[in-house]
Symmetry: C2
Subunit: 366 residues, 2 copies
């Protein structure tokens, strides 16, 4: 990854915003800008923050537990430890670096932390400036290195699915299936799942966000498997719905409908088209068949270092797609009491269309 | 759980603080006050918030995905949905409820959210008041229902350990061992691990927070297993260090030392004693043997709905322990290049001593 280029770009933004530095606390932003792989345990327990000055050398601030990892991952930055916490270090460090205005990520800083920071730095004559979404905006367009990573993540996710798929049998529980999938991910080298796998059988497949239960997978009923993993920091996300046993006519009809909607969505994608228009293209197929009310969520979302990121493919997002964005296309039909069908692939937005990253065709065209 | 009693107590606090209501966003606080089991995906994707007025009925604010679960878990509250987000709902709802000052949890609210909330409610003539740690303070002392839950969580965690222990063999990788443990937890009914299991063999056991690797477990070398689970919302946390194969004299000597330090810490615990004094009691045993530098972390931490909560048993915490607190006692000795030994039990602070919640004695007194 070309971290130097990303840092240069961000530093130019900071100079335009007339702040002396940005403190990066958001974990995916931190990884995007530096490659640091430290993992946080929630917002309260960080493995470190980047201090990016508008000019000059980047600092990675962390504690003794992460020192080795920080120095290995980001040899081109200055690693500094805060044995008594970040709020003790900054009032000493910033004046030494000539920083008199510090921006922070207001969408990933706790109110109490920001208040205390403002107070402590204020005493030292340093202004604090809330900024929102600056690095996220940079992350919208994936460069070739990132697309290569996402491609590998998608491929490994499919490999896991294809390994587990033949072993999925009625009688096995949803939880057992989820555990088998997540174990295979980690044994094949993934950092872990990119979200808790969804394994939803029969009428439970009508819940778009079902948590795997102790229920046994039902014979001849729909089974939704929605799974993704993280490989080298980058996420994948794929959904297949199929029938262990014999599919009935209704399933086949609805499955074809959802697949047609997905293909219509994919055909609508190209640089310059509004996200809402892509959502509409897929939704129209389902609505025309009389199932509009049964498709209650947006068509897709961006994927990268985070499994859910911008852009959203939704009726509410009128922004234009741009080449290099990576999004899911995942229409669904959910019928309470009967079950649901969702199909999800990931694609790269290109100037003249989209590139489908998924090659798995299990139960796709039936 | 007696939620009514907890709500009464919190409402009395709010009246003393002269605020009309508290918005509870912190997930464990939300569960403590209501029993709501909805799970968040990080601070950016909440499954709902409690609105606790200083007088009157509690509201649970959530979105359509969690409606059913909210109504099932908290039938005594009014469940309200925010189809267009919390920030749209509150300016309409609060005037109807006669709320003109709203406290929020400043330690679990993003700066950007707090700023926007202040702006929107300000226009409606409603003041926003940052509060910190109010519910956490209530959670410090566990009542009998909570201690019963923690006891079951500890017992199930030991059951998982004892099931997996005989199968731990040299040659198996750290990751495989972690996966076996976490699968057993979920199959036995746990909600999941309370933290990512630590399985660290040989010199890797010198890292207190080692992430399981693809390294094979080494014969005749120390192996640290630090694991915990969540059952009915309550966490457990236990560490054992043992040798697959034959332990040498150095291991046995250091293992006895760490165990002696643990027992000294447990003997020092009773209501009224300062946390720092308990830490010192255990640390002195290790320091007297010449290994003071090799024990670089605090002796223990509180456990409850969160796996790491107050009180900390550390040199820096001079507060007195109180009956009903639940803490870990986990001294360790870490020697880079050789390995480490840590032993961890959980205890309840009682008036006249402490009650050890662990019964597992694997490799404890060797």
């Amino acid at each position: 990854m070309n971290y130097a280029k990303r840092i240069d770009k961000l530093q130019a933004i900071l100079r335009r915003q007339k702040v002396d530095a940005l403190l990066v606390s958001q974990p995916e932003n931190r990884r995007y800008l530096s490659g640091y792989t430290g993992g946080d345990h929630g917002i309260g327990e960080t493995s470190g923050l980047l201090l990016i000055p508008a000019r000059g050398r980047v600092h990675l601030l962390t504690d003794f537990r992460y020192r080795l990892q920080a120095e290995q991952d980001v040899p081109w930055a200055t690693v500094l430890l805060y044995p008594k916490g970040l709020l003790k270090l900054l009032p000493q460090l910033l004046p030494d670096l000539g920083i008199s205005s510090l921006a922070f990520e207001s969408h990933y800083t706790l109110h109490a932390t920001a208040a205390r920071l403002g107070e402590l730095l204020g005493k030292a004559g340093i202004a604090t400036v809330p900024l929102k979404g600056v690095v996220e905006k940079m992350r919208l367009i994936k460069d070739d290195d990132e697309i290569a990573c996402i491609r590998r993540s998608v491929a490994l996710n499919e490999e896991v699915f294809q390994e587990i798929f033949p072993a999925i049998r009625p009688g096995q529980t949803e939880i057992e299936t989820a555990l088998a999938i997540e174990a295979a991910m980690r044994l094949k080298g993934a950092e872990g799942p990119s979200f808790p796998s969804i394994i939803a059988s029969a009428e439970r497949s009508a819940l778009p966000h079902a948590v795997p239960s102790a229920m046994q997978i039902a014979k001849d009923r729909p089974l939704t498997v929605d799974m993704g993993l993280i490989l080298d920091g980058y996420c994948s996300d794929m959904t297949r719905t199929f029938v262990p046993g014999k599919a009935d006519a209704k399933f086949l009809e609805l499955h074809r409908l959802v697949r047609r909607a997905q293909l219509a969505g994919m055909r609508a994608i190209r640089a310059g088209v509004r996200a809402s228009k892509v959502d509409r293209a897929a939704r129209a197929v389902i609505a025309d068949a009389g199932y509009g009310q049964a498709f209650g969520h947006a068509l897709g979302h961006g994927v990268g270092l985070a499994v859910h990121e911008d852009p959203r493919l939704s009726a509410l997002n009128n922004k234009q797609l741009r080449a290099g964005m990576v999004v899911t296309v995942e229409p669904g039909v959910y019928l309470p009491g009967w079950g649901g069908i969702r199909l999800e692939n990931m694609v790269v937005v290109r100037e003249d269309g989209c590139e489908n990253l998924n090659t798995d065709s299990t139960w796709l065209d039936v």
